[in-house]
Subunit: 201 residues, 2 copies
């Protein structure tokens, strides 16, 4: 662990500069009147019990739907649905039936009465536990009630291999697939055997 | 936008399955007694004013430092410091001077009295605006007071080219660099000129 040339720094104005961030399609409403909103201001906020935060501008069509229904779905985005994901971020559900326009397939959550996206590799069903008004956005804290995973992500041993999902990250206004794996949690203190076993696959 | 074969779904227990997520080195304390904690439960939660959430387990050494000082730094992680990042996630500041052990370089924030990491491509200075007890973790909402960017990220026109940073994402327990760029915000409805201009670079 040696220093590199650290150069000098430029001060810029306070802004939302955390990168990369997730990008997900959040679903809301019911099976008859379903909407999709693409969000990047999302994050895991608690482990036990599992909770996710999503931040939505008050004026967005989905805002009041989620607020009144108290439920939402978080659908992860793989490369093969990134175009639909982008489309759901630039069009409003006030004018558009996004499921119809994108040809994405609706299905109902197992534990939460919310539409989900069948083409998404991982769908997370949430109930709203809290709402905070932060300014431009309201932050909804969702408790995770159920998770379903595409059967294509399971390896021969029955373990989930998320690298098969081709998930997309959002970085400074652009969508990227993940590239090289450069480590695993604990690799900096792992022994040679663990490094050989886990970094080779 | 056509359907693909959607296969079938496997239900798994409620868990923290949002992926990929950011991974950052959060700094706290002062220039004499500084600590670094690696966190992935972080996210942007508001745009105007800019706010970030970080979730920290109550028993972590940094938890009380951030709570009592009311400030923290969010240091983005590039591939060349991912090993130090991992190390700061598996060792505790109770036992270790992480700046000394990782040879990372401390510098003081411009607007917030908090140590930051000079090797980080982007450092975000935050003041704690709110704390919520969620269960295993406390969620700290930080208002962004300043951002500094390495001068190496600026292109010839003086614009920030974040692709130069080699930022790392965290995906299901593993660190990945970003791979191919597969779109930009609005690409699904962009005209041919914009697509040619922006997807070529």
């Amino acid at each position: 662990m040696n220093n590199k040339d650290i150069g000098s720094r430029i001060q810029i104005k306070p802004s939302t500069f955390l990168n990369p961030v997730p990008v997900v399609m959040v679903t809301c409403g019911d099976m008859e009147h379903a909407n999709i909103i693409t969000l990047a201001w999302v994050g895991t906020v608690n482990s036990e019990p599992p909770m996710i935060s999503i931040s939505v501008r008050k004026e967005r069509f989905s805002h009041d739907i989620i607020r009144s229904s108290g439920v939402f779905g978080v659908n992860l985005v793989s490369e093969d649905i990134v175009k639909q994901c982008d489309y759901c971020g630039v069009r409003s559900g006030r004018d558009t039936d996004k499921f119809a326009e994108t040809h994405l397939t609706k299905f109902k959550g197992e534990k939460v009465n919310v539409p989900l996206i069948a083409e998404s590799p991982v769908c997370i069903e949430c109930k709203v536990a809290d709402i905070s008004e932060l300014g431009s956005h309201d932050m909804f804290i969702g408790s995770v009630e159920n998770v379903s995973v595409s059967d294509k992500l399971f390896d021969q041993k029955g373990a989930i291999d998320l690298s098969r999902a081709g998930l997309v990250a959002y970085n400074h206004g652009e969508y990227y697939v993940l590239g090289d794996r450069v480590g695993f949690f604990g690799f900096s203190v792992a022994g040679r055997d663990a490094l050989n076993r886990r970094m080779k696959k």
